[in-house]
Amino acid sequence: MSYFSLEYIAMITGFLLIVLGIWAILTYKNLLKIVIGFSLFDTGINIIIVSIAYVKNSTAPIIDSAVSLKDAVNKIADPVPQALVLTSIVIGLGVTALMLAYVLKLYQDKKTLDIESFTDLKW
């Protein structure tokens, strides 16, 4: 695996996105920006998952005329992470939607999006 191969770049990007996402979650006070941080985080993970599945010069994991069952192992990309990433995206969507619903409710309550104003419960 060379340093400039596609999967390597993808993985680095994924990690950068994760760090970026965490950074956003931890530093931005705006609720919406925090939710966006989560989206970045999720995306980063998804990219990493896909990058793991990538096998150089291989084709999509569909067994048809192009790829016979016999040499599938050598020719196709790993199908499992691809399945995972689909699930992960769906879950990420669900979570994001729910979070946004919460954000909406919070905003309706206090007319602000500053996370520091929702600290009534503590200790």
Binding site: I34, I52, P81, T87, G94, V95, L106
Partner: protein
């Protein structure tokens, strides 16, 4: 049998189907949902039964027609079946509990609830790590949905915090899973375990991320602020599900994945679990909101279970039992407590006094609290016992200490809370509604705790002969269900039960074991006598009899115990019963708490010592003898543990209040009788130390000094009391100091003195406390200076107190002198001159309070409002005079009792220190003939009395104020009754002895603990971002510690 896959399919099917129902079918959908969960429960019960009673093997269920790793597989074995049975049944009960809320919120909420339960099932069943992740996510989303069942500002903001936290955690989990897959090529947990991921750095990191995120899901301290906010703000019904059901699933997930690690992984999980247990319980001390407090407790308990998972490698075959026993206690009790908080609807634990309006709810509350702390007969007792034993066995003694410390912290806030519920004023609190849908689930889990406890006893080492300890408990349970009967009837039943117990127990003991016979007689005969006094009370006297009998059953149990678990079980039963008895007093709340906390700490020390003993010599009580390793540590722990009950100096501050504020017939029970349990424990300890070797033991030397100083301080403090019952209470401290001193001497004579003191203290303290208690019942005050001159109104009480104080002060001819005489001989023979002198000094101080007691109450001036008061109740007179007959027999024929004791001591202390010729006792130093002394004094007294009577038989009786008073007639008794602060001069001279430094010490200790809890809990600042930061830091810290 129905395949567990259908748990998923049925739930999903029903969830979709509900969507098709019409708009107004909320109720129907909720019913369908409950039926569905009922079916799930049935399925899991069927499996559990097959595993447990049949010979069902673990089953793998493959999906999609492929074997793993190419498909997801489920596994159901014995553990899985039990866990999902628990989850589904609590889901069913929780569904019933939340029924109204769910119906009101709509059928979407119903669906969410169903999906929530389903996802937990799948988390338990799945063997595929990614599937685990998916269902954990579904569980999180469902939880986020359930959170908004309660719609207010706090619940919504806490829901958002929850989403932030679980979002980060699940992302970490996902990264871990993906890299785990990368390194192992499989998503199957079994393959993960096979693959030995710890060998490669990358695999180790992946596994670390998986484990860390599972751990984080379990809300480890201190990265758990989000969870606490959720627990506090949402519907208690939902909190119950989170604490009980979700936690069980995630714990099981952790349990499944954990074997993929290496021994070090287990240690780390253990460490973080324990940090959570101790830390969370410490911070719980400062909580006042019931739900938040339960949140802290929940976090703590789960931490303990996590730690137990981490201990798996060295708990051996007992691991499953320990984990399940402790887990199920948490599971049932926490669900019950959260549900109760939903019924009571109070924001402050002080308002739980309201619970008392429905006494059976209070009983349930108590049940749950005692279950959490690990009192018998609940499963956690057996679980904790076995945990401590196995930990000690494996040599992890320090872990024993940490666990007990955490448990103690938990005890602090739970018992404070229980005390509030039992005692605080509830008049101004609003009425609350009783909804059977909410009561039934609580009642069911309440009953289950008892069943689970009973069942747990079968799995614990050393419980082969436990039936004799359970039979009294069944009797007590029956008595509890008869609680609606009038006091009179219940008292007869109780006395009959006790008498029968004594009848079958005592005669046999006299032949075989005199030591146990003596203490058994004190416990049971004393119990019967003090119970007789209970006839005075009118009405139902709810809750008294079960508590009293529980205490006596415990006391009887420690006599019968032949191994350490029997002893400890009985010891804790006794503590439990006596706590309830003590806290029944009007102003007893703080005293009940301090009694409980000292008892708890003492019990934990005993438990630790038993554990360390077990690890060397096995479980029999005989194992305490001849310890090869760290004997002084073990003996020291035991001594301190037992001394919490004997209230030796430093550990005594609970006693005065507890004894003084208790009810009139309870004070003698807890003073004359209960304190002897500690003495019995010390005797067992001293006997185990071995007579010859122990003579040189420095522990005994220290105990001797401690006993002497306790006697001095206790007696001096007693002299300065204005409250009659407090005076007697401090006197008990002093007397127990004598007893401690006497037994510490460890010679034939010393022990004889110790036994004499124990018997005497039982007799006279019962007489005094009964008499004074009866007087207090009549006068409605404890303050002696408000009494006076009562000899005219209460001659029977006066005579009783007179006999009592003569015995107490050791004046011949009554039996108290036997103790003093033996003491002199023992002290000189042993060479403990200075300690002995302090003890004798204390003895003379006893005259001060004896005189004060009898003078201030019975002599001096009769008060106007007492001119028509009647003598004490006949129900007090009967036991008092029975005891006085005992004193008289012991005084006239001390040989009858002391000779057999001497013979009993021969095997232990073979020196023939005391010989008897008829009634004459002779030692190396001196001699004494109790019978002759009695005869001589009796005759002389009669002669002088006759002489005076002949000379002055015509003396005129005069009125009360007819005294020489400088020509004035003092008409107010208050001004003429010299009673308040009568030892002012003595106080000025030696009062410094009793400056309450020890009380101050404990007060500042508890303040500091409180302060620490208050300080550290500030990390939970309520900001979701901070909580996210906690999670990140926690993970990083773990990472740095591991790699």
């Amino acid at each position: 049998m129905i395949s567990p896959i259908h748990i998923i399919s049925i739930s999903l099917g029903v969830a979709f189907a509900i969507g098709f129902l019409g708009k107004n079918s909320n109720k129907l959908s909720a019913v369908i949902m409950l039926l569905t969960i009922g079916i799930l429960t049935f399925i899991s019960a069927q499996w559990a039964q097959a595993f447990y009673f049949g010979n069902q093997e673990t089953v793998q269920i493959f999906t999609a027609g492929y074997k793993p790793p190419f498909s997801i597989n489920l596994q159901i074995g014995v553990s899985e079946s039990i866990i999902i049975l628990l989850i589904n049944s609590i889901g069913l009960l929780g569904g019933i509990y939340l029924f109204d809320t769910l119906v009101k919120t709509g059928k979407n909420a119903v669906v969410v609830y169903l999906i929530f339960i389903m996802s937990l099932n799948q988390v338990v069943l799945t063997q595929d790590i990614f599937n685990l992740f998916v269902f954990l996510e579904i569980q999180s989303i469902a939880t986020a949905g359930l959170i908004v069942l309660e719609r207010n500002r706090n619940s919504i903001s806490s829901g958002f915090k929850y989403m932030i936290a679980t979002g980060i955690i699940s992302s970490l989990l996902l990264i871990g899973i993906v890299f785990g897959y990368y390194f192992t090529g499989s998503l199957n947990i079994a393959d993960f375990i096979q693959a030995n991921m710890m060998l490669s750095k990358g695999g180790a990191v992946a596994l670390f991320l998986i484990l860390a995120s599972l751990l984080l899901e379990l809300k480890p301290f201190p990265a758990n602020g989000w969870a606490l906010d959720v627990y506090e703000s949402i519907k208690p019904g939902t909190s119950a599900m989170l604490s009980a059901a979700s936690a069980s699933a995630v714990l099981f997930a952790l349990y499944k994945v954990l074997p993929a690690g290496n021994p070090q992984t287990f240690e780390i999980v253990l460490g973080f679990g324990l940090i959570t247990f101790v830390g969370s319980n410490l911070l719980g001390i400062k909580q006042t909101n019931p739900q938040r407090l339960l949140g802290y407790s929940s976090v703590g308990q789960i931490g303990l279970i996590v730690a137990i998972l981490g201990m798996k490698p060295f708990l051996g075959e007992k691991f499953t039992f320990i984990a399940i026993a402790i887990f199920i206690s948490h599971f049932l009790a926490k669900a019950g407590l959260f549900w109760l908080s939903g019924i009571i609807k109070a924001d402050n634990i002080r308002d739980w006094a309201n619970l008392r309006k429905k006494p059976f709810l209070l009983v349930l509350f108590g049940t749950f609290v005692f279950t959490l702390i690990g009192f018998p007969p609940f499963p956690s007792f057996f679980g904790k016992w076995e945990l401590i034993m196995q930990l000690s066995q494996s040599g992890y003694w320090y872990l024993v200490g940490v666990i007990l410390l955490g448990s103690f912290f938990e005890g602090i806030y739970l018992f404070k809370w229980l005390g509030y519920a039992i005692k605080l004023d509830n008049v101004n609190l609003p009425e609350f509604n009783i909804n059977w849908k909410k009561i039934i689930p609580v009642a069911i889990v309440g009953v289950l705790t008892y069943l689970a406890g009973y069942y747990s006893s079968f799995f614990t080492t050393g419980t082969e002969h436990f039936e004799k300890f359970f039979v009294p408990l069944f009797f007590i349970a029956i008595l509890y269900f008869l609680d609606f009967l009038p006091n009179f009837v219940k008292n007869i039943i109780a006395i009959a039960g006790m008498s029968y117990y004594g009848y079958i127990l005592l005669p046999g003991l006299y032949e075989t074991d005199l030591l146990r016979f003596i203490f058994g007689a004190i416990f049971i005969v004393g119990g019967v006598l003090t119970l007789i006094a209970g006839f005075t009370y009118k009405g139902q006297r709810k809750g008294f009899h079960p508590a009293a009998l529980m205490m006596f059953a415990g006391l009887g149990g420690i006599i019968q115990a032949s191994n350490m678990i029997e002893f400890f079980f009985s010891w804790e039963m006794m503590t439990l019963g006596s706590y309830i008895l003590i806290i029944r007093g009007k102003k007893s709340m703080p005293h009940g708490l301090s009694y409980m906390l000292f008892s708890l700490a003492g019990a934990y020390l005993i438990l630790a010592a038993f554990g360390f003993t077990f690890s060397q010599n096995g479980i029999s009580l005989e194992a305490l003898k001849g310890l090869a390793f760290a004997p002084n540590l073990i003996y020291g722990l035991l001594a301190v543990g037992f001394m919490t009950k004997t209230a030796s100096l430093g550990l005594h501050i609970w006693l005065p209040g507890a004894h003084a504020e208790a009810e009139s017939d309870v004070s003698p029970m807890v003073s004359a009788i209960l304190l002897k349990a500690g003495v019995f424990g010390l005797i067992i300890l001293f006997l185990s130390m071995g007579a010859e070797a122990a003579g040189q033991n420095s522990i005994l030397y220290l105990l001797g000094w401690l006993g002497a100083i306790t006697a001095l301080v206790g007696n001096t403090a007693a002299s300065f009391q204005e409250d009659a019952k407090k005076l007697l209470a401090y006197s008990s401290i002093g007397q127990l100091g004598y007893i401690l001193f006497a037994f510490s001497i460890m010679t034939h004579l010393g022990w004889l003195a110790g036994f004499t003191y124990s018997i005497n203290h039982f007799l006279f303290k019962a007489v005094l406390f009964l008499a004074i208690g009866a007087v207090v019942l009549r006068l409605k005050t404890h303050n002696m200076y408000e009494m006076g001159g009562l000899i005219k109104r209460m001659p029977f009480a006066f005579i009783a107190v007179l006999i009592g104080i003569i015995t107490l002060s050791g004046v011949p001819p009554l039996s108290g002198f036997a103790g003093k005489w033996l003491f002199y001989n023992a002290v000189i023979e042993k060479g403990w001159y200075f300690q002995g002198t302090i003890v004798f000094f204390a003895g003379t101080i006893a005259f001060l309070y004896s005189f004060r007691l009898i003078h201030s109450i019975f002599l001096g001036q009769l008060k106007d409002n007492h001119r028509t008061v009647k003598d004490i109740s006949i129900w007090f007179i009967i036991p008092i005079y029975t005891l006085i007959i005992g004193i008289m027999i012991f005084s006239a024929r001390p040989d009858l009792i002391l000779k057999p004791i001497g013979n009993f001591l021969m095997p232990y202390f073979p020196t023939d220190a005391l010989s008897w010729t008829d009634t004459m006792a002779k030692t190396r130093l001196g001699y004494w003939d109790g019978t002759w002394v009695m005869i001589i004094i009796g005759i002389m007294f009669s002669l002088i009395f006759a002489w005076l009577f002949i000379l002055s038989r015509k003396a005129t009786k005069v009125e009360q104020f007819n005294i020489a008073y400088s020509g004035e007639r003092p008409e107010r008794p208050e001004t003429t009754h010299m009673a308040h602060n009568i030892y002012a001069g003595f106080n000025k001279a030696v009062g410094f002895i009793v400056t309450p430094n020890i009380s101050k010490f404990w007060a500042s200790a508890s303040e500091n603990l409180d302060g620490a809890a208050g300080y550290f809990r500030r990390i939970y600042n309520g900001n979701g971002q901070t909580y996210a930061l906690h999670i990140i830091i926690y993970t990083l810290a773990m990472y740095l510690m591991i790699f």
